[in-house]
């Protein structure tokens, strides 16, 4: 794979492909007594968690425990569900994500990127898939965008595979390629946080491994929050673990500690395969 993040690229003196948006320093992401109701039913109950910087945080727990809802509250994608109600606070720097207005929201979603569950390229060319996010956040100019597209396609190891067909539809790529493209698309708007909702579950083992390795590489520059169903994957790559059960964050801590020496009985039962 091409060397990742080799600093500036493209030879533009006054423009840096990976430092094009303002980055407030040290934006902490945490929740305080966060509850989410859908149609009156509590999905999350008073969740208090904090996402550490430059680490991979895995949210684990049996299905239906609210993992995905928690993840989607961080960038307010839960809004797309009808009848949703959020109480409590999701703090990002000095902002409360829960009460953000539409203009703030677009900014928050730029800061907290998402890698979807299944690869879903936008109905555009490979090039435009990467450039789209930058365009809607006000970056224009052919040369700048060219440099950005190349930089991020290299970052996910896709450049050599697609450089001759940048303007063909993204839908023609293979599943694994599409997922890396989606990752590059999320990275191109320079989020500080990266949310991944079982982003390898729809891929074949080989592509899945490639994407997983990418995540490990990326934690140098990003704070990654992952939802995963496979405990093995979490054990392979997690630095920090949040265990959820029935809408509550039961245990949170360092991966070593949670996996080897869980404080809570429920966590132990889950790790032992007590429920799936």
């Amino acid at each position: 794979m091409i060397k990742l993040f080799s600093g500036k690229s493209g030879g533009h003196d006054n423009f840096s492909v990976n430092n094009k948006f303002p980055h407030p320093a040290n934006m902490r992401l945490s929740t305080h007594s966060l509850s989410v109701y859908i149609g009156g039913n509590p999905i999350l109950k008073h969740v208090n968690v904090e996402i550490p910087h430059n680490k991979i945080t895995c949210i684990i727990g049996p299905s239906g425990c609210g993992k995905t809802t928690l993840l989607r509250t961080f960038n307010r994608l839960v809004d797309t569900i009808e009848g949703v109600k959020i109480t409590g606070v999701v703090q990002l720097g000095d902002r409360n994500i829960v009460t953000a207005g539409p203009s703030e929201l677009t900014e928050i979603r730029r800061t907290i990127g998402l890698v979807p569950q299944r690869p879903c390229p936008l109905p555009m060319s490979i090039y435009d898939n990467i450039a789209y996010g930058c365009r809607i956040h006000g970056i224009s100019g052919r040369k700048k965008l060219d440099a950005i597209v190349e930089y991020y396609l290299r970052a996910v190891g896709l450049w050599d595979e697609v450089k001759d067909r940048l303007h063909s539809p993204a839908g023609k790529l293979s599943g694994g390629q599409q997922q890396r493209l989606c990752l590059a698309r999320s990275l191109a708007i320079e989020p500080s946080y990266l949310l991944a909702d079982e982003s390898t579950s729809a891929l074949d083992p080989l592509s899945s491994r490639t994407v997983e390795e990418l995540f490990v590489e990326l934690k140098k520059d990003y704070s990654i929050v992952m939802v995963t169903h496979t405990l093995r994957q979490a054990k392979r790559i997690a630095d920090h673990v949040i265990f959820m059960y029935l809408g509550e964050a039961i245990e949170e801590g360092d991966a070593d500690q949670v996996f080897n020496n869980p404080r809570h009985e429920l966590t132990q039962r889950y790790l032992d395969g007590g429920f799936s």
């Binding site: 539409p102 203009s103 677009t106 809607i136």
Partner: protein, 282 residues
């Protein structure tokens, strides 16, 4: 504020405007017809034949058109159901899913659904000339039947297609024959048959271009299949062309009756659909 946010609000504004316009159009159409015609409506209008020729005025009502429309719609609905129910079963039970023939058949019904009623009328008319039949209740009924068959088939097929194959397989595995399976399906699509019927009646009773050639027009209630007959839409259309204000009033009153019938059909159609879709296996 950012440009994208302004654009968002503008887009929303236009959407609200579009929805408001559509609601306004509905209200405008229904109310304009009602306000003009409702005061003129009387028991005499709906219960008596036009006196002194429909064009000339001279009292009376448009019972001829009401009865004519009922005859045609009743006949066409019965004939249409008799033809389309077997077709829907054939498409869904006897043909395998993904069959090429079923694909072509469905396409053909889609196309037939799109063909304007004036073309049905013209075609029906050429057929009638060919067979030596003159404009009559029979001719009108046949053309309206042809017109509503695609509606019947399409709307019933839509529901029949969603019947899970497991359900049919379950029926088979219990040792039932295809005919018994059909009974299972009938229970599943009964509400669809009901809504399709209402929909088709609505379309059939409102159709004017198809019956213009084929049913003709008459001031009397037909007593046999070979006599010409009036229909509600045509009685609205023809009477509006009359120079006599009295006859025009009769047209507006007939328009109110027609609108009322169609409103009742469309509202009960939606109620049936909502009611049944709750306890139907999806």
């Amino acid at each position: 504020m950012k440009r994208s946010i302004i654009e968002e609000y503008l887009a929303r504004l236009f959407m609200y405007a579009a929805v408001a316009m559509v609601i306004y159009f509905v209200a405008s159409v229904v109310l304009s017809v009602f306000m003009r015609g409702f005061p003129l409506l009387s028991w005499e209008m709906v219960s008596s034949l036009p006196g002194g020729g429909f064009y000339m005025g001279g009292g009376g009502g448009f019972l001829n058109a009401i009865v004519g429309s009922l005859y045609i719609v009743g006949g066409a609905t019965v004939l249409g159901l008799a033809i389309s129910i077997p077709v829907v079963f054939f498409l869904n039970v006897y043909l395998k899913p993904g069959s090429r023939f079923a694909f072509i058949a469905r396409l053909a019904y889609d196309v037939l659904f799109g063909i304007p009623s004036i073309v049905y009328g013209a075609f029906g008319f050429t057929l009638m000339i060919y067979f030596g039949v003159r404009a009559s209740l029979l001719g009108g009924t046949i053309v309206v039947t042809l017109l509503i068959i695609p509606i019947f088939i399409r709307s019933m097929d839509e529901v029949a297609k969603t019947i899970p194959t497991e359900l049919m397989e379950a029926a088979y595995s219990l040792g039932s024959t295809r005919w018994e399976t059909i009974a299972v399906i009938v229970r599943q699509i009964a509400p669809a048959i009901a809504t399709a019927t209402l929909l088709s009646i609505g379309r059939a009773i409102g159709d004017a271009a198809g019956v213009m050639f084929t049913a003709g027009f008459s001031d009397r209630i037909p007593t046999s299949l070979t006599q010409q007959t009036a229909t509600l839409p045509l009685s609205v259309y023809f009477q509006l062309q009359s120079p006599s204000l009295e006859v025009q009033d009769r047209a507006y009153a007939a328009a109110v009756v027609l609108t009322l019938i169609v409103l009742v059909l469309s509202i009960s159609g939606r109620i049936i659909m909502n009611h049944f879709s709750r306890n139907k296996i999806q």
